[in-house]
Amino acid sequence: MGRTIRRLVLLGPGLGWWLAFLVVPLLVVLAYSFFRRGTFGGVVFDFTLDNYVRALDPLYVRVLWFSLRVAVITTLVALLIGYPAAYYIATRPRRWRTPLLVFIILPFWTSFLIRTYAWIVLLNREGLINRPLLNLGIIEQPLPLLYNEFAIVIGLLYGYLPLMILPLYAAIERLNPELREAATNLGARPIKVFFTVTVPLTLTGVAAGCIFVFVPSLGNFIVPDLLGGGRSIMVGNLIQGQFLKARDWPFGATLSLALIALMLLLLVVQARIINRDRPASGNAA
């Protein structure tokens, strides 16, 4: 079999499917962003830049800004929580590591919807956090844990923490322990070793983990929908609103493009970090 036939048979279906059901649809979205909404919904094919102008309206910018803030906070918290966890797992004896990782990632494979719902039960005023605290007299009023920014961050954190831990673990595990030993040998105290050796060399893992948490968080729809209450909406809810309620697909398309653009930007940044890290990396082969 010729090399080309082999390429076609193996790579064709996958790449072809993506071409038809990913690339083309995204191009449709791109196209729609330049058109107008018809009177009864639908799309009128008049070229216009109105959607882009409208997207800059403070109303929408505020939502975008809020989304960014939430995503950033979630990512940072995930990093702070995830790094020590990944570090600990990476320094366990070999046979413990896979089981630990499996249990970290296991929740991720269950329904995001259900996992988010669980927090409704936990966080609401009659919920499992407030009730005992009230009963024990620790607080007088139920804490407003639900339907606000706090709940959204918790929900996103819960959903995506495993995605932060895995790449961090991979990067830390690949580190040559002799590098740390050398640093210690040269006089650095453990904290110094951590910040001057371990962290810089695991930067690719950090970058990957941050992307894996930030991107889905930014565009998330379920969490703000279930946990955010009416007032805290994010870009994802905006887009959904435009498509399903306001039926302004072109505008919804424009908003989606903003999201995609941000995502691509981050991927490029991450790729840069990985490439910069590669030649200088002291990781064991």
């Binding site: 966890a85 495993p162 279930l226």
Partner: protein, 263 residues
């Protein structure tokens, strides 16, 4: 290794414990609540399976579950076939880091973006031009898009440990390329392929956002659950949640055992 009670190792260990607590507490709560007679988180009135019975007799829920299983099965079959071929192609035929990276994009693209892109596309091409209504098929096609990514990634981990000389040995011993694929390559990578299929199935069953946009009037199981949550939290949801969680766990653990190189 930690010697004193407050050494860094101990702190980190405690931290990990808290992380596990954080990850599993909500799930445990749901499971426990599903057996709570009163169904309320506030009062435990006794062990009961009434919510499960209620769910089991709810036709809407069962119908949605059947639809979802159908969709998941179809999208799994298609995605597993395509993804396995793609994994072979990427691992054997190309050495392109860019391509390897691009393959991951359908997996990390925000689901809302994929959802509206496909909705727009379907609307334009299928509904607009061909006059088709959206339904299970449109969800299947959509699910395959991201499932391919996961299948490819998982099968590739299996391929990495694959000694290609056994294929050459097969050719040398008289089998042509197709026979070699059937009798040597496929059987050896099969555990990885099945593991990937299990993961794809799980993802498809649980998937909400894309289905929500592309299902038209068809109701999938997650869509059903969503509307139940949206329109008033009822204890049946706990029972449903428990079942979903247990099934997912079982599928994923099975997948892990079949393909230990996954991580």
């Amino acid at each position: 290794m930690p010697r004193s009670l407050f050494s860094p190792g101990r702190w980190l260990g405690a931290h990990l414990l808290l992380v596990f607590l954080f990850l599993y507490l909500p799930i445990v709560v749901l499971i426990v609540l599903s057996f709570n007679e009163s169904g309320l988180p506030t009062a435990w009135t006794g062990f009961s399976t009434r919510w499960y019975e209620s769910v089991a007799t709810n036709e809407k829920i069962l119908g949605a579950a059947a639809t979802t299983i159908f969709i998941a099965t179809m999208s799994t079959i298609i995605a597993t076939a395509i993804g396995t071929l793609l994994a072979l192609g990427l691992e054997r035929l190309t050495n392109n880091a860019l391509l390897d990276g691009l393959v991951f994009i359908p997996g990390i693209i925000p689901d809302i973006v994929l959802a509206i892109a496909l909705l727009s596309f379907y609307n334009l091409v299928f509904t607009g031009v061909l006059g088709l209504k959206l339904g299970a098929w449109s969800v299947i096609l959509a699910h395959v898009v991201f499932n391919i990514t996961f299948v490819t990634a998982i099968v590739r981990t299996r391929l990495r440990h694959f000694d290609i000389s056994i294929e050459e040995a097969s050719l040398d011993l008289g089998a042509n390329e197709v026979t070699t694929f059937r009798k040597v390559t496929l059987p050896v990578i099969l555990p990885g392929v099945i593991a990937a299929a299990l993961v794809a199935f799980t993802l498809s069953v649980d998937e909400f956002v894309v289905a929500f946009f592309t299902a038209g009037t068809t109701i999938t199981f997650p869509i059903q659950v969503y509307s139940m949550i949206r329109f008033g939290v009822t204890p049946e949801i706990n029972a449903i949640a428990t079942v979903v969680v247990i099934v997912s766990f079982v599928l994923v653990l099975a997948s892990q055992r079949l393909n230990p190189e996954q991580a």
